[in-house]
Amino acid sequence: MTAPTGLGHHASQDDPRIMLDGQIGQYEQVPPYPTRTEREAEFYSLRDGEMFLNMGPQHPSTHGVLRVVLKINGENVVDLDPVLGYLHRGVEKLCENSDYHHVISQIDPLEYVSSLFMEWAPVMSFEQLLDVKVPRRAEYIRVLTGELLRIASHVLFQGWMALDLGGLAPILYSFIERDEIVEMLAALTGQRMLFNYFRIGGVNGDLNHEFMSRLGDWMSRALVQHEANIGLLNENEIFVRRMRDIGRLDGETAKRMGVSGPNIRAAGVPFDVRRAHPYSVYPELEFDIPVRGTGPAGGDSLDRYLLRLDEVRESIRIIDQCLHNMPDGPVMARLPRLMRPRPGRAWAAVESPRGLFGTYVISDGTDQPFRMKIHDPSFVHLQLVGMLMKNNLIADTMAVMASLDPVMGGIDK
């Protein structure tokens, strides 16, 4: 049989596992539906007074395309079952079929709210494979842009949080702040959302005039603006009452559930990769790790919300130090165009605005990674929703979920 693609004979035509165009549809057997798991059987059996309610995947406040099956009793949520995969693109497989430079742009759209961090972890792990030393100026630029984006992400979280609770105005203020930061980074990188800025061995370009003048402008009013944004919501009684004592998470459970980032720090555990396992130039910088919810009961949704606001202040401190200590020098290490690292394994993790984001890379000596595992914090955090939501009201589902700040692009990979 000739291949309809017109590419001539190819070894894959002999491979029984590969079906050519003419053969499509000739399945030998229909695969059996997998047997029900213990949890599935438990969830999909109803007791008296219970019913299922489907939420999503097009629900406007599910932070992307997430479907949640709620098991409700009246207004109370008895249990819930998140259904993922609506945004699954197989990024790990794509990375295994891209060369090392290309991976950066493949992995960029994973978490579209804070995409620089998605570039940072793989770039760091490739640098380990290649034994590259990154110039200090490049490290400072990475920290500077990263912390800017952390602020942009946390500010947006504030607005979304209010939107999920029914407040429309704060999101508009959030976008004023975020837009300014994003435009600033666009002046530096040429892109507004998916920056594709970090490179193996440095960053794509040096700081330019437009970026610096916009940054200086913004820095002069950043703290004042931040205090004003805090005033929008923190004293709003409806907002505070709907957040307090909802979705409590204690430190021990958080550790066992694999939680990281602001969510674990709001449960009283001071785990921040920037301090727990320092990378880049963070050891040289002075900043605090805000912690809330240190009591035995842990932190609630309000703690998680307030902790992110505390972090914005710390990020502004870091940016200030970066600008003062910025060294001169090159922003890229000298490297060949085509990278063929020796066979080996590397793991690198960064503290993204959502938590520990890490990549595990295996090299087989070619110019493409053999295996690229992406660990996304939102994926782990979404597991918590089922636990935190039990016996709360339906209307609070989105409030709890929003307080965990997941991004579906990262969850579905």
Binding site: S12, Q13, L20, P34, T37, G85, N97, Y360, F379, L382
Partner: protein, 182 residues
Amino acid sequence: MDRSLKVRLAARLADHLAGPIRQRHDQTEIRIRPADMLEVMRTLHDDPDFDFTILADLAGVDTGTTMQVVYHLWSAKTPDWLRVIAEGLPREDPRIPSLTGLWPGAEWMERETYDMFGIIFEGNRDLRRIYMPPDYASFPLRKDFYLPDDSARSPGAGARHVEQPNAPVVTSKRAPRRTVRA
């Protein structure tokens, strides 16, 4: 590199190690057999000398000849990441105990690994597909699953991949063309 961690691991886990302890950059790596996984992990988590309280990652790996499950752990007692590689799972029927007893948060990570590699985590109470639809039968991250639009070097170039019935059922005599010693 934390030399003292290497010494402590070698002393405490001598019976379970399936290979030498390797250290590079900020990572320490141990290799164990899948059957010993739970015992090793319990030691690492509960022993106050180790105190690895945070499970940073759980990854499946298909080396082309065998399967692995790779865990990354963090502890306040050492500046290193600890990588635990449970190696030598057969590709036809990869099985390993579940870690959900120690870290309930591993449940979804194991579901993802099952979905992508077909590795069965015995004891996980919710081992079903998480990304792919439930009636899907292939395991996309296995090395014998080719992409249709691969770059020209790939054996899948120019042909459509077929979604196979469960990979463990159909065992091909030919190994995937890309393998690694990981």
